[in-house]
Symmetry: C2
Subunit: 406 residues, 2 copies
């Protein structure tokens, strides 16, 4: 992959941005000089970098672009809102319409609020739980990502012990550990925060084991612990009404973000009637949080997701991808396993604990114009087709053939 | 003010949004049925509500709309970026260009990072200071607003004592209190966070007293305390290169947000070379934080602010407004005082500690189509003209005549 122009941008960036590129798009977290450094133009499920290299994308901007780049209906709704104004002293009627739509969709919900980022909502949700219960402690899953706010930031930089003193983590699917914590912290636990399935960085997806969610639900109900579903990554990808419709979990509050606005910056939280009073007591705001353009985009995006049965489509395309890659791995002698949900697919190579094989595979695919992230789950979009998925599988097959090359 | 349509939207909203409208745009914080509830359309320095009432705006969406609604150059830059895509797996070159522009502008800075909201940056900045110093404590000013994150949220809802256990506040301009804290917490203070002038809610602006910033700067330099300038509200309104060019303060990190993107959602932090390493160690990211549309808008907005000498224009228009209202107050027998900076003007009535007079004045002006917020500083924009300011003064004069009516 030749990328002199991108490298030149990166050289300039290192002077004026710490590390050149920061956060989840940092090349240090990816594959320098194999993975693209910058993006230039997106269309459907493809994008180009500043050097004109073209990529078939299975990352979708780490999730948001669920309908593909430049979706005409979403762009039309956004343009119409934009022609009125970007942000005002007050909300606009579309905020009410979007809250009505989400509240109707998300079965357990009787209200919705909006933010700009996933962390905005997960952090607010634990505050609402603390306000509701008058308790401090939060249970979470080891290795689960809930954003960069101090209580949950995966990196230790700048974090102090008090930020996390009441956050207690246990392993995914470990019912005994969960019950032990509930016993230890009797009447002290405000909430548990869970993703609908475990999607750790540097590992495959893990579904809830039979009985795991049921045990949590029962205990939380008995102990007055608020159940928060972090559906930021998966929400509206697995089911048009939210991931709680797929797994046996009935949250008190659910948080959404990616997939709501097809790239327009918006996040949301929806909650039960029981949580309404506390929700109204935790101050929530931001300079641009009433943004009617993102809200209009989200309204249309959510409507399209339901109308076009996007979750079923993603499941089908993702299954095609995972099965194709598994078959290629078997044929070529590099056995691998697809980890569902297929809408947010990821693969794990046998005996690849250090991810060296995965890194190599990802780099070889990227050089051949297909973006499979080396250590973060991938995303299917409605702009993918069986044909481009078949092409991706062929590229994966080629990559596997060269995986042991020097 | 008749607003049946807005009231109907609000009635719908109360069902699906806790409180109907939350955060800083909550009508509970304003003047129900005197202040508009919803916005519909903005143009220049005017906007309409869903009932067709038209307002001359001195709030500018609480700051962002510094060039006026629908600024053609900003919209053109945003549209061009949008035609390429909204958000990608990677940053885009415009991020580098914007970081270069800000780093060049903000004299002390050698790097810049971006977020979506003011809180994103103030919270990250205190983490960078903690990382840099290995210390925990943060000094701040009583009543200063730095966002809704737990360490600084002005409301107690959902906050636990550990969130603020290392935040210590003293009164604006109280050098002795500041020095006392530095003595008490010798070698424990990571940072002090300051706005360039004090702009509390429910009160007038307060400028730094002679010697206040100088004393802070000298002590912080001696004690190794990081100086963070929260220039979110005022940044690029008082000076095209940032408010530290107006007041005797040389921060290690400055945070910006409103006024950067003329309504497009973006915030930024800029810092000195000394802070670069720590800045690179505090994980910073968000789903939409690489948004090239907002960055392209910001680049153009900041260029227009400098080219058109917007800060000077705002100072002149704001001074006209404050002087006109002071004169009207004197003429009519309701003496009031304008509190500078004039670019973010606010007035305080003599003997109005409970703000009843201010509330009344604000309501009467709103009914006459002029938006003067009752307890938050106002904002001048480049879309204001001497004529509309003169009109606003006349409306203010009319309001003053009726301020004691039943």
């Amino acid at each position: 992959m030749e990328m002199p122009i991108s490298q030149s941008w990166f050289a300039r960036a290192t002077k004026v941005i710490p590390g050149g590129v920061y956060g989840h798009t940092s090349p240090a977290a990816s594959l320098p000089l194999r993975f693209p450094l910058y993006a230039e133009y997106g269309e459907g499920c493809h994008y180009t970098d500043p050097d004109g290299n073209r990529y078939l994308d299975f990352l979708c901007a780490y999730g948001p672009v669920i309908l593909g780049y430049h979706h005409p209906e979403v762009e039309k709704a956004a343009a119409e809102a934009r022609s009125k104004g970007l942000v005002f002293n007050h909300p606009t009627p579309v905020m009410v319409e979007l809250a009505e739509l989400l509240t109707r969709r998300v079965g357990f919900a009787s209200w919705t609020v909006f933010g700009k980022n996933g962390s905005d909502m997960t952090t607010w949700a634990i505050q609402v739980a603390r306000q509701h219960t008058g308790r401090k402690k939060i249970l979470a899953i080891k290795g689960a990502y809930h954003g960069v706010d101090a209580w949950t930031n995966p990196s230790p930089g700048g974090i102090i012990e008090e930020d996390r003193i009441h956050i207690h983590r246990f392993a995914w699917n470990d019912i005994d550990a969960f019950r032990g914590m509930v016993r230890n912290f009797k009447d002290q636990i405000a909430a548990i925060i869970l993703t609908p399935f475990h999607h750790p960085a540097f590992g495959g997806n893990q579904l809830p084991a039979p009985g795991f969610f049921e045990a949590i639900q029962e205990t939380c109900s008995k102990e007055g612990i608020v159940v928060i579903l972090d559906d930021i990554r998966a929400g509206f990808r697995l089911h048009a009404n939210g991931s709680h419709c797929v797994f046996p979990i009935q949250p008190d509050i659910a948080c959404y973000c990616k997939a709501i606005g097809n790239g327009y910056a918006i996040s949301a939280a929806a909650g039960t009637e029981r949580m309404r009073q506390a929700a109204g007591q935790v101050f929530l705001t931001g300079s641009y949080w009433n943004d009617p353009v993102a809200m209009a985009a989200a309204k249309t995006c959510l409507e399209v997701i339901a109308r076009d049965r996007v979750p079923e489509k993603l499941e089908k395309l993702g299954s095609q991808l995972l099965e194709g890659l598994e078959r290629a791995g078997k044929d070529i002698g590099h056995p691998l396993k697809g980890t569902p949900p297929a809408a947010t697919p990821y693969i794990v190579f046998d005996g690849d604990a250090d991810l060296r094989k995965m890194q190599r595979f990802s780099g070889l695919c990227s050089e051949r114009g297909v973006i499979f992230h080396p250590h973060h789950n991938w995303f299917m979009s409605a702009a993918h087709t069986p044909d481009v998925v078949e092409h991706a599988i062929e590229v994966g097959r080629e990559a596997l053939k060269h995986i042991n090359d020097a």
